[in-house]
């Protein structure tokens, strides 16, 4: 019985080089798809957002009366500036329960959230309702022109012991 004969491989392409080129092709295709999908993912992060800046100047320290909660920057920047006898701190207006915006009730001297009734003292410490932790404070300091400057990119949490950080409080002695 004669041995079965197989057709000769065509000239110029061996099994090895076919598999090599096949691998190169698939790897190239995979890399191109990966790069394309990454680029599409980047599409969802716009380079410009039409939101108020994260840093802003909040007037001169002399404008702040001791014991008052300043609401001028609440609507635009989401920040309360509170002056006590030692200095000024910047409180976030985001309730630590679910993220609504509480109101400052001057007569009752407390922040009260309309969504689920969380209450906070003017220090930001929570004392009633479902909020599990105090309001957050933002980085505060003095700019070169003597104005109060607030930076929302840096947050200070009471429960993490961060209110001792000098950047969380503007000392005015």
């Amino acid at each position: 019985m004669p041995a079965p004969s197989f057709p000769e491989a065509p000239e110029g392409i061996s099994r090895r080089s076919f598999i090599t080129w096949l691998s190169v092709g698939w790897l190239g295709f995979g890399a191109a798809m990966g790069a394309g999908l990454t680029a599409v993912g980047r599409l969802f992060f716009p380079n410009v957002t039409f939101e108020p800046p994260q840093q802003f100047k909040a007037g001169f320290p002399a404008e702040y009366a001791v014991g008052k909660v300043d609401e001028r920057f609440k609507k635009k920047y989401g920040v309360w500036l509170v002056r006590n006898e030692r200095g000024i701190y910047a409180l976030s207006t985001v309730c630590t329960h679910l993220g609504c915006t509480p109101n400052w009730l001057d007569a009752e001297q407390k922040f009260k959230c309309p969504c689920h009734g969380s209450g906070f003292y003017s220090t930001g410490i929570n004392f009633e309702g479902p909020a599990p932790r105090p309001l957050e404070r933002y980085k505060i300091g003095l700019s070169e022109d003597g104005q109060v400057s607030v930076d929302k990119m840096a947050k200070f949490k009471y429960e993490m012991g961060q209110w001792n950080d000098p950047n969380s409080f503007l000392e005015l002695v």
Partner: protein, 262 residues
């Protein structure tokens, strides 16, 4: 043979025959199969099914009702799109206009009640499948598809919630999207985000680059969020859900038909 009636003339015409290749279902079993198989709408149905498949006390017809409600939502939703503009300036007033000025002022109500009903019926469908053990082999994969469809139904509900652009909508989405902050690794307050940032050596995941930012197109719910949710609500999620529904229904048949009592 008398003169052919108008019906016979029409049924012998080339146009009729090109549409209905196999005529009406006849006593011939092969012909009945072909009539169904060759029609794109009829072929979605099985050629035959078990008697128990139409037993309402077993299936509650909840899957079918959910699909029906999806169709209601698609039709009423497209009708609403003729008037609604997803911008901060117009969205709220277009919703009012849809009730006050546009004919059939209950269209948005139908869409809204349909949405509530669909969420309820899809849960009841899942409940029924669980109670009857219909998730067991060979239907495990279809249970998985169904869970994804449940999530998509809830996401449709969530994205649609923002579109009226009133206080309820804005705060509901503010509160709801806060969950995205806690996404592992890609949420700025989630587990692993701090680890990732320290490994990379810079703040890769912050409030301006995390999952919540991608969802809202910003740090706050704003006009960009409205547009993003509108596209997700009207185009992206329905498209994905439609593909998965096709797979879901296909697998119901391929995994042995609608499950019945053993």
């Amino acid at each position: 043979m008398g003169k052919p009636t108008i019906f016979e003339t029409v049924k012998e015409s080339q146009a009729w025959k090109s549409i209905f290749r196999h005529g009406a279902p006849s006593a011939n079993a092969r012909n009945r199969v072909l009539v169904v198989l060759m029609n794109v709408f009829l072929h979605l149905h099985p050629i035959r099914m078990k008697k128990s498949g139409v037993r309402m006390s077993f299936t509650w017809c909840m899957g079918g009702i959910t699909f029906f409600l999806f169709l209601v939502e698609t039709i009423t939703g497209v009708l609403l799109m003729f008037y609604y503009r997803p911008t901060a300036e117009y969205a709220y007033y277009d919703i009012i206009a849809l009730r006050e000025h546009v004919p059939i002022g209950i269209m948005r109500e139908i869409h809204r009640w349909g949405a509530h009903s669909m969420v309820i019926s899809v849960w009841l469908h899942m409940f029924r499948v669980f109670l009857t053990g219909s998730y067991k082999p060979p239907r495990e994969f279809n249970w998985g598809i169904g869970v994804v469809l449940l999530v998509l139904t809830l996401l449709l509900s969530f994205t649609g919630y923002l579109l009226p652009w009133d206080q309820l909508a804005i705060w509901a989405i503010t509160v709801g999207s806060n969950m995205a902050r806690a996404t592992p690794f890609v949420g700025n307050e989630g587990p692993g985000a701090a680890l990732l940032n320290s490994l990379l050596g810079f703040e890769a995941i912050n409030a301006g680059s995390d999952a919540r930012f991608a969802l809202l197109a910003g740090r706050l719910v704003g006009e960009a969020t409205l547009l993003r949710f509108y596209v997700l609500h009207c185009i992206f999620i329905p498209l994905v859900a439609s593909v998965l529904m096709a797979v879901h229904f296909w697998r119901v048949r391929k995994d042995g038909g609608i499950s019945g009592p053993l």
